[in-house]
Subunit: 376 residues, 2 copies
């Protein structure tokens, strides 16, 4: 596959240091992908997303197929040009949002019919159409169509959805075969049942993909259940393929998942929390809405590489949140993404130096220390 | 006045090229001040505001006295540090917003009592308190407290408000006398009655201020009425003092007012319109909500000095506006402020080159040409 490859460079315990090579540039793994749902990372300019250490962003097929439309984006030169992000992009298949956002009309072996949450129009998504859309968008990594259940669910439902997702994996692969220089990842399903997860992973490996995602997690189950799935699936996944844990997670989730061999993550938490006044720092989360910050001249973290965390006082950030200023969302989203990317860079450096376990302990120590005491 | 002075460098017809020197840096005039109502220029980072050519911003005393409070900002090191803007700041007196936003309880010779629009608390603003607040904020240019009427109004009301504003001008000056290194400007009132405006201007000059504002305009009157006031007042204002036209205006207003000797402007239009999908360009306004942009790969203005006007397609900006992305407000506000500052820089260069009349004609020609034709 000329336009796409993955190199595993080093391991340290279960943690893996690697690099994805794609037509739009390289991705240092483990990597965190900010979410650009509607072809924009919320409240951030793409140059700023890049400057904070981002190699790759995720965009949502479901949203973009409905607005502005995949054919339109293709006519405008593809998603990279559209969103002014000339670096790697991963698109999901649309399946997850179809099931969480859209009123469903029908789901069967063929695909899914739903009403657009924007205008109520009836839309059909099949594995073939999901591949066509992602081809039109031109993302560097596309995802197979899968069925995502809400957990908890009955075992029989989980099993049925897992088998349907496998059938769709085959059809997705066939439909994507003509696409050059881009990768299609399969998605391991099976809820929190290790046996079903293993069956799904083995079947996907038989189909053969250049990368494997673990989907259907971080949907409300306890962290331990999620980690148990990683423990079950990790040993069977091919070493030379990147492993992507979809929709995860908190800083602690990232650390735990990297220690179990995950290479790629995406999550809305840094930007969504940024829009709601909640900051991530080396010392845990800080709720900037809290009145205790109103008179606090100290920055959020004077040692952050993000100027927003260094140059503005907590009092000012608190004021912006209370006053509902867009600048609050802009600055705190940047602070949060900076922290996430700092954490990923720290993990990569630690694996390279064969000290991942120490890094993990140090990070946990920082979170446990907690934020600065209020000024008295 | 060590911390504040104004140098008139050149005139070209009625237009004036000058420079304000202040403790926080210089202001090249004619100058446009973006509005930072709540200590933030909406949807823009301060470093970006600066980079687009801004020498000075305006902040609103009314909003800041209510939230987070002037005493709090003073305790945090003043407004410059609070909003991370180490350059010149002008604050208004609060009078205009009291009369437009707050339910009034009482207005008499002493001052004004009103309810906060935030929490209903009763607040009193007198000339003395308005000066104390602006001293606490630490702005480089403070404004006297005045009474702003909505136009049209009865001549007797206009006259009464003008005389009250003169009495408040005297009290403002007295209350501000101890403040070092900062300037207090008087405000000419008198509606659209040239005789009242002249009387107001002459009385303020007798009191003596380092700068004079023309207030109570751009409140719904025709542009011709506004310009007639400038024509009436201009000849009596001292040449060596900066002249500030409050709350104005459109690009055309700025050009007309500069040709009549105005040195300073503030207006919410570039940022407010930016948040509503309306862009200012050399070729007039462009409504990016309009469906005709949906498939247009062209940038808004490939020759703008603002990257947002060059690097993003109209189709993408249209998509962001329709999708209600914060990035739409960020990018279009930047595009608009860039155009405003480009226009001001163009005017300054034209005055320096004694070709202001030509520049004015060229700008009007661009606006008359209008935006690009839609793609067919």
């Amino acid at each position: 596959m000329p336009g796409f490859s993955f190199q595993l460079k080093k391991t340290d315990g279960g943690a893996r240091l690697g690099e994805i090579f794609s037509a739009h540039g390289n991705v240092r793994t483990p990597a965190f992908m900010p979410v650009g749902t509607q072809a924009a990372v919320k409240a951030m300019r793409p140059d700023e997303v890049r400057a904070l250490g981002t190699d790759i962003v995720l965009a949502n097929t479901y949203h973009l197929m409905l607005r502005p439309g995949a054919e339109r984006i293709a006519a405008l030169g593809g998603l990279h040009r559209f969103m002014n992000w000339p670096y790697p992009i991963l698109t999901d298949s649309g399946g997850f949002q179809v099931m969480s956002l859209a009123p469903l009309r029908k789901l069967d072996a063929e695909g899914v019919e739903f009403r657009s949450h924007l205008d109520g129009a009836m839309v059909t998504l099949t594995p073939e159409r999901a591949m066509e859309i992602q081809d039109l968008l031109g993302s560097d990594i596309a995802m197979q169509l899968d069925e995502c259940l809400k957990l908890p669910a009955e075992r029989t439902d989980i099993e049925r959805a897992m088998r349907l997702s496998l059938a769709w994996a085959e059809r997705s692969k066939r439909a994507f075969e003509h696409v050059k220089d881009r990768a299609l990842f399969g998605i391991v399903q099976g809820g929190t049942e290790p046996a079903l997860r293993l069956e799904s992973a083995r079947a996907l490996i038989d189909i053969s993909f250049p990368g494997y995602a673990i989907g259907g997690l971080a949907v409300g189950e306890p962290q331990a259940a999620m980690l148990a799935v990683l423990d079950a699936v990790g040993p069977v996944l091919p070493e030379h393929c990147p492993r992507y844990l979809m929709g995860v997670g908190t800083p602690e989730d990232l650390l735990e998942a990297v220690s179990r061999g995950i290479d790629l993550f995406d999550c809305v938490l840094p930007t969504r929390n940024g829009r709601h006044g909640l900051a991530f720092t080396r010392f845990g989360t800080v709720n900037l809405k809290n009145a205790r910050h109103a008179d606090d001249p100290r920055p959020l973290d004077p040692e952050s590489h993000c100027v927003a965390a260094r140059a503005y006082s907590r009092a000012y950030l608190h004021h912006l949140v209370k006053a509902n200023e867009i600048l609050a969302a802009m600055l705190i989203s940047a602070i949060n993404l900076a922290y996430y990317q700092e954490l990923m860079a720290g993990m990569r450096a630690a694996i390279a130096a064969a000290r991942f376990a120490d890094f993990r302990a140090e990070a946990a120590e920082g979170w446990a220390r907690g934020d600065l005491s209020p000024l008295t």
